[in-house]
Amino acid sequence: MSPIMPNAEPSFQTDRRQLVACLKLLLPAHCLLSDDEDLRPYECDGLTAYREMPLAVCLPESEAQVVDVLRTCHSLGVPVVARGAGTGLSGGAMPHAQGVVLSLARFNKILRLDRDARLAVVQPGVRNLAVSEAAAPYGLYYAPDPSSQIACTLGGNVAENSGGVHCLKYGLTVHNVLRLRVVSIEGEIFEIGSAAPDAPGYDLLALLIGSEGMLGVVTEVTVKLVPKPELAQVVMASFADVGQAGDAVAAIIAAGIIPAGLEMMDKAATAAVEPYVKAGYDLNAAAILLCEADGTPEEVAEEIARVTTVLREAGASDIRVSQSEAERLRFWAGRKAAFPAVGRITPDYYCMDGTIPRKRLAEMLSAIAAMEKKYGLRCANVFHAGDGNLHPLIMYDAAQPGEWARAEAFGAEILELSVALGGSITGEHGVGIEKINQMCVQYKTPELDAFRGIKAAFDETGLLNPGKAVPSLHRCAEYGRMHVHQGDLKFPELERF
């Protein structure tokens, strides 16, 4: 460790000609891109505000090729960024300027679907929704359902520990993956977990899931499939006040009900969505709640009755229960299309992903309203109310000078408030490059050191997705310095450089 800059981000210097020459020996021509125009589509993921051009993109078709690429990059000291569908919203798959993008897009086969054992073995490039579609004939499905499920891949889901509307009741990716096959940066293959429960040793599965492509490249995923409920029905409730809607969420949980989905949209969000999908949302409401019950018809009837009572007591001004599957899907369509709908009314939007304790919902929303004034930008709120995961969509125009900087500062303030309220800077989209500074707010030096130690246990040379997810000590010190406020120094325990 250098005394001047301990734990500095490693710098890489790649000889592009040599790299491409080596990769050409390993991969057939159609599996390697190295011309600038071919690389352009890979320069960012769903978070388009951050871009970087890679030196090359590898699109291997077999695990042996993945091993070869990783071995070669390891021996040349070249950074590698794995990529699924590139729908990530935190810049996790943004390339490294001195590195290679390793796309798993061609690993798109469902290898085995075992109806009796209720599991599927899939390649990492398989789309999330494709698993449920393949399982549907057996009355089974894959529970985690991110809104991006048409496009995002299982490999990306594993790397981000993705969740969706159903995760309040059915869990996140970490609760639904049984086994992973992984290639290390050295090109060594290992398997963790199995179709049997409680694999011996440390729960490395928990460590790998949500590790944002920092610990290994996933080449095979075994997921749990669960029986499709016989029936699902959704209640839509309007509230004249967002605080009241937040309290209604707590009241549902307090009544001993864990709904299959519990989502909230504020007035700005419904106003954006309604003209787009015509879901029949109450445009006068300050907030609407969508609460789904699933199970046997008897169970659903019982739960809907209980939820309706709770919502009425919580002060809902209007309550509607879906009367058909078509109506249920229409109620949800607006929530599912919230991002693109907001995308239509603003040139750009910046999607945040903080989590907070449910009881602080109203507090957070009024703080966001104040920030709208402070930064002069509008914000629509859609969120997984059941688990306190907010998705404020900050609207801006990248073409207007200064707007992106204001949006970024607005977002950072939301994240830091999430931590202050007892929550986290990310509930499902990951840290990536986007929230790397806020990691210094959520964690102190000892925890960050432990994360770096874990990284080193898997990837000693730090070649997998460098600069993402876990900030260097140096970076935190820099960020701390930026935030010195009225002489109140953040992270006084950190060394300053």
Partner: protein, 361 residues
């Protein structure tokens, strides 16, 4: 070592052991054996070192029924936690055994779950956050009290089942769930192969099955959920309703049922569809076919389990036998290497529970 009742005392004790180990030559280093309620001395590998009793660091720190979490210190008896939850109609859904003395720390460190695991998930699925004292005496906070948190690696879940080899779990936050409104227990007369086939068939259907247990030609099934759902499923499944179902599940959870009496007792985790193994000896099946208990000599049990895609734990046996055979199935070389590096990161001098999980850790 005296009873330690404060976090500072625990930190000091571990810090002192670390300092001492730094000075001592490798072969004469002191080890600490973390102990909660001591209800699990029978479990795992060798017991070595001076006892570090964490049982007195106890008490519920925070419980928010509407946020669905509870935070408590490691020495808190599970019984105390479950009593507090029951007052608000909630539970630890992984249904750990509690006996008198089982503690929260020991429960999470051991990583074992009870009958409801089939439906609800394992201990690790409910761990939201931990306060850890590592092998250098440093306090680390991971996770938190919210349901979703993907900032940084998920160290809290990594610690579930780590048997105290990475640090002392000083404080743990668990997700809790409402107790089901209704429960009913059914019994069927059926042989082992038939039970395995049925359990898998049922598990593929939307039925509110929350526990299963097969032993000597009888299959017990527990249904949990909304009143109407339990009644409808019970009509559909048939079988005979049992009046004292709760007592039966308690005996399974606490392993006082006679099926668990034999030794050595092997715990086999298998893909649930694995056919009957045809082993001679006392046998029982839980978790829809995925957990099988077998009491007997066990020649070739480990190989049999591995061939089926699972693994076998030598669960209850003489310490000499556990040390000889290894309590847990051996790890593949790349995984063992990862384990050693992780252990080294959290406990660089190897003073915490050495050998309790694997001889090499």
């Amino acid at each position: 070592m005296p009873h330690l009742s404060g976090l500072d005392e625990l930190v000091t004790a571990i810090g002192a052991a670390y300092e001492a180990a730094l000075q001592a030559p490798l072969d004469s280093r002191v080890a600490l054996r973390i102990r909660g309620g001591g209800s699990k001395d029978f479990y795992g590998g060798m017991l070595a070192g001076e006892v570090l009793d964490v049982g007195a660091y106890r008490g519920i720190v925070a419980y928010e029924p509407t946020e669905l979490y509870i935070t408590a210190r490691c020495g808190t008896p599970l019984a105390e936690i479950e009593a507090a939850l029951a007052e608000r109609g909630q539970m630890l859904a992984f249904e750990p055994p509690h006996f008198d003395m089982a503690t929260l720390g020991g429960c999470v460190a051991a990583g074992l779950s009870g009958p409801r695991r089939l439906q609800a998930g394992a201990v690790r699925d409910f761990v939201l956050g931990v306060k850890l004292i590592d092998g250098t005496g440093q306090v680390l906070d991971f996770g938190g009290q919210v349901m979703k948190n993907v900032a940084g690696y998920d160290v809290s879940r990594l610690l579930a089942g780590s048997l105290g080899t990475l640090g002392v779990l000083a404080e743990v936050t668990l997700k809790v769930l409402p107790k089901p409104v209704a429960e009913r227990t059914l019994v069927f007369a059926i042989d082992e192969a038939g039970a395995i086939a049925r359990l898998n068939q049922w598990a593929g259907q939307p039925l509110p099955i929350s526990a299963s247990f097969w032993h000597e030609g009888k299959l017990w099934l527990r249904l949990s959920g909304a009143r109407a759902a339990v009644a409808a499923a019970s009509d559909k499944l048939g079988g005979t309703a049992v009046a004292d179902g709760e007592r039966h599940w308690l005996a399974v959870r606490e392993q006082t049922h006679q099926a668990f009496a034999g030794t050595p007792l092997w715990r086999l985790a298998l893909p649930s569809t694995t056919p009957a193994l045809g082993l001679d000896g006392l046998c029982s099946i839980e978790w829809g076919g995925a957990l099988r208990w077998y009491a007997g000599e066990g020649d070739g049990v480990r190989e049999l389990a591995a061939k089926a895609g699972g693994h076998a734990v030598l669960y209850r046996a003489a310490e000499s036998l556990r040390c000889l055979e290894g309590a847990f199935a051996p790890l593949a070389p790349p995984l063992l290497a990862l384990h050693r590096r992780l252990k080294k990161r959290f406990d660089p001098l190897g003073i915490l529970n050495p050998g309790r999980l694997y001889a090499e850790l």
